[in-house]
């Protein structure tokens, strides 16, 4: 797993063409598979990447024409031969958008730049529709064409924005799904790690937000956690994969307030000990905006889970969790108290 990455932006270019990529199980034998969320999943039924590439080449063709023969293009479109500088500017814009779409891993922002460009062009063509323009007939045709292209751009941009999550893992791609992986190394054996994690009573000891985990039966459990803003969050989860001494996977059940799915793999490390690898999908209420905000305040699940893993390691290796909560200090300033409140430092 060390050389492959399923995180967008780190690995190979995500395959927008095939949404049915095999689950990451195919990458290594020990990896538990991900199960779909219990809610409808919207999948694009269209070859979005192909459409985006087409729009990219169109941009490059238009941009090249505008740069080489600005007056010719002005005549053709009905916009007039009077503003070659302006037309060249449009050409540069189109070339940038085209190269962005074709070269970048995520074409969505460049498609949005095309949308903005289309609107600018429509505004310019509107001035050419006036009765004083002898070529206003051509301008009207151009206007209709650009409007049509605008519609295609908007469609492609929204589709690719929506599905920029993690297309490599089938079945869990939802509009607001976020995905991350994190890992930590410990001197304890995979069996010790598994045994400690599998005992649900241990989980609140190192998961800082979790207040209690109650087993409902062999596979299902009820979770109560502190919410980031105050009110408690509760959900039911089930274990979807249980390989003693090796791995665990779980997902939340229907109607969970915070739906997520995750897995933890206890991988035997070279030279003894264990590398603990945790992956998680989650859908933050409010989507990417709240996710980014949470990240700034270090309240996002990725930072939280990373700290949870550290505490897991500390408990296992030392029997306690390093802390300074409750130690004496002098008088804290407003900043000092705020830093503490947001748990940016562990000490008060």
């Amino acid at each position: 797993m060390a050389t492959e990455s399923t995180e967008p932006g780190l690995g190979q270019r995500p395959q927008f063409r095939s949404q049915t990529t095999a689950p990451s199980e195919s990458l290594t034998g020990t990896r538990p598979s991900y199960r779909p969320y219990p809610r409808p999943i919207r999948m694009p039924s269209f070859d979005m990447r192909g459409l985006a590439d087409g729009l990219g080449w169109f941009s490059i063709a238009l941009g090249t024409a505008a740069l080489l023969t600005p007056r010719g293009l002005g005549t053709l479109s009905g916009a007039g031969r009077g503003h070659p500088g302006l037309t060249r500017g449009v050409g540069v814009r189109e070339l940038a958008a085209g190269m962005g779409i074709l070269a970048q891993r995520n074409p969505a922002p460049w498609l949005w730049s095309r949308v903005v460009g289309d609107v600018m062009d429509l505004a310019m063509l509107t001035t050419a529709l006036g009765s004083t323009n002898p070529r206003r007939g051509r301008a009207a045709v151009s206007f209709a064409a650009v409007a049509g292209i605008l519609a295609v751009d908007v469609f492609a941009a929204t589709q690719l924005t929506r599905h920029a999550g993690n297309p490599l893992i089938s079945g869990v791609v939802g509009p607001t799904d976020l995905y991350f992986e994190t890992s930590i190394a410990t001197t304890k054996s995979p069996e010790e790690c598994y045994r400690f994690w599998r005992n649900l009573d241990n989980l609140p000891r190192f998961m800082s937000n979790v207040e209690s985990v109650q087993a409902l039966d062999e596979r299902r459990s009820h979770w109560v956690a502190k919410g980031p803003a105050g009110p408690r969050l509760e959900w039911d989860a089930e274990i979807t994969e249980d390989r003693p001494g090796a791995a665990l996977a779980w997902r939340t059940l229907a109607d969970a307030q915070v739906s997520h799915a995750g897995s933890v793999i206890f991988e035997s490390a070279n030279g003894g000990g264990t590398i603990i690898r945790l992956s998680m999908h989650y859908s933050p209420p409010g989507g990417r905006v709240t996710a980014t905000l949470a990240q700034l305040l270090r309240q996002d699940p990725q930072a939280r889970v990373r700290e949870d893993l550290r505490r897991f390691k500390q408990l296992l290796e030392t029997g306690e969790i390093a802390t300074t909560h409750g130690q004496p200090t002098g008088r804290r300033s407003l900043i000092g108290r705020a830093v503490h409140r947001w748990r940016l430092t562990s000490s008060n």
Binding site: G273, R298, A322, T324, Q327, P328, T329, T345, S347
Partner: protein, 406 residues
């Protein structure tokens, strides 16, 4: 209890704070009998250490008597007299198993912040910023010691505080600096800075077989102490250090160089002005004139050992010297726990008496004055020991509020 609390650059106040208590099973509480101001504490005093918060109790060199132990501490009992190492180490992680205690993976609760700055997090330290754990320090009447079953060493009542206190930091730090030079019998070692760490580096280098130690400073009293420790002194205000070092070694340069100065290095001329300006404008965090000089002075294939504290980003460091002249660079916060036993033995055998560095002993109440004095090298100050339970002298009893031991 009374504690020395940091409130900002050059703002220290000794004030009443709550007593520490046991927070984890492997904690112990110690009643501090002696604590010292470290050269690295001066970087905190000067506001150069990132991650400090107003209200932090500082200090990391301390010793005392155990007054309470947690349920997980079996090797210590109430009444034991102990010296405490400044890094906090769990004893069971990957690094502790390799005896690299200052790299403990389990003792920094703010590891994420250290990772942002340095890539990975080292161990938590006492009283040395929230990047290194935010633990309350030992310039106080009591301190809580986490992982007390791993760190502290019991010391016999027969040895006075001043002889064993420096096992907490500066003695092992100077020793590790010399040990890392991989000395061969007869080697020549140059030491920049004749503060406590530099002085212990000199003594340790000689103990480890160095044939000749050259000490570089500008304060006559520090150079005198260095000469007493067995080194030859060089005053860099009077001679061209690089020229003289070449001269003394037949043009080859010292076999090993030890930089015991750190991020507030002083230098003359253009570079001195340049560093002060860049540091003032926050374009560099550290002023490294001694490191630049050590890298230039060291012989081809030699070792440059850096016990000095550098915190962040350094400028105009001649890295080409390292590459083209095959230098070895050694550094690190001291793995104090590794050295406690062997060095205590050296003290007990009378091979070294670490109390030679002490110049001032003050009541804890006068810590702020001690810091200022130490920073300004006023009154030939080399090392200040603070006594947390000593009443400050009343004005009519003694007009001069400091006691001179040496």
């Amino acid at each position: 209890m009374k504690a020395n609390v940091w409130y900002g650059k050059e703002q220290l106040r000794v004030e009443d704070v709550p007593d520490p208590r046991i927070l984890n099973p492997r904690d112990a509480i110690v009643r501090i009998t002696s604590t010292a101001i470290c050269g690295s504490d001066l970087h905190i005093y000067g506001g150069f250490i990132p991650g400090m918060l107003a209200g932090d109790i500082i200090g990391h060199e301390f010793m005392g008597e155990v007054v309470e132990v947690g349920s997980g501490v079996r090797n210590l009992k109430v009444g034991d007299r102990i010296v405490n190492p400044f890094p906090i180490s769990c004893g069971s992680c990957f690094f502790c198993q390799r005896k690299e205690f200052s790299l403990c993976e389990n003792s920094n609760p703010n590891a994420w912040a250290a990772e942002k700055l340095w890539g990975h997090s080292p161990a938590g330290l006492f009283g040395y910023s929230h990047l290194l754990g935010g633990y309350a320090g030992g310039q106080a009447q009591y301190a809580r010691i986490p992982f007390a079953d791993v760190g502290p060493i019991k010391v016999p009542q027969s040895l006075p505080d001043e002889q064993v206190l420096f096992l907490s930091d500066v003695f092992p730090t100077g020793y590790m600096a010399a040990e890392q030079c991989n000395l061969q019998p007869g080697d020549t070692v140059a030491v920049w800075g004749c503060g406590p760490v530099g002085l212990f580096s000199i003594k340790s280098a000689l103990l480890l077989g160095a044939g000749r130690v050259i000490a570089i400073d500008r304060f006559p009293e520090r150079l005198r102490k260095a000469t007493e420790a067995g080194a030859e002194g060089l005053n860099y205000e009077q001679v061209d250090v690089l020229e003289v070092l070449k001269d003394l070694t037949g043009g080859r340069g010292p076999d090993a160089c030890i930089d015991a100065v750190g991020l507030e290095g002083h230098s003359h001329g253009m570079f001195g002005v340049y560093d002060r300006m860049k540091q003032g404008l926050m374009l560099e965090t550290d002023r490294p004139p001694s490191l630049r000089q050590a890298l230039k002075a060291c012989r081809n294939g030699g070792t440059v050992s850096i016990p000095a504290v550098y915190g962040g980003f350094l400028d105009k460091v001649p890295f080409g010297s390292i590459v083209n002249r095959a230098l070895t660079l050694k550094s690190g916060q001291t793995h104090v726990q590794r050295y406690l036993g062997p060095l205590l033995q050296l003290i007990e055998e009378g091979k070294i008496d670490p109390s030679f560095i002490v110049t001032h002993t003050l009541p804890l109440e006068q810590a702020p004055e001690g810091y200022r004095m130490f920073r300004d090298k006023e009154d030939s100050c080399v090392k200040v020991v603070l006594k947390p339970w000593l009443e400050p002298p009343t004005l009519d009893a003694e007009p001069q509020p400091k006691t001179h031991l040496h």
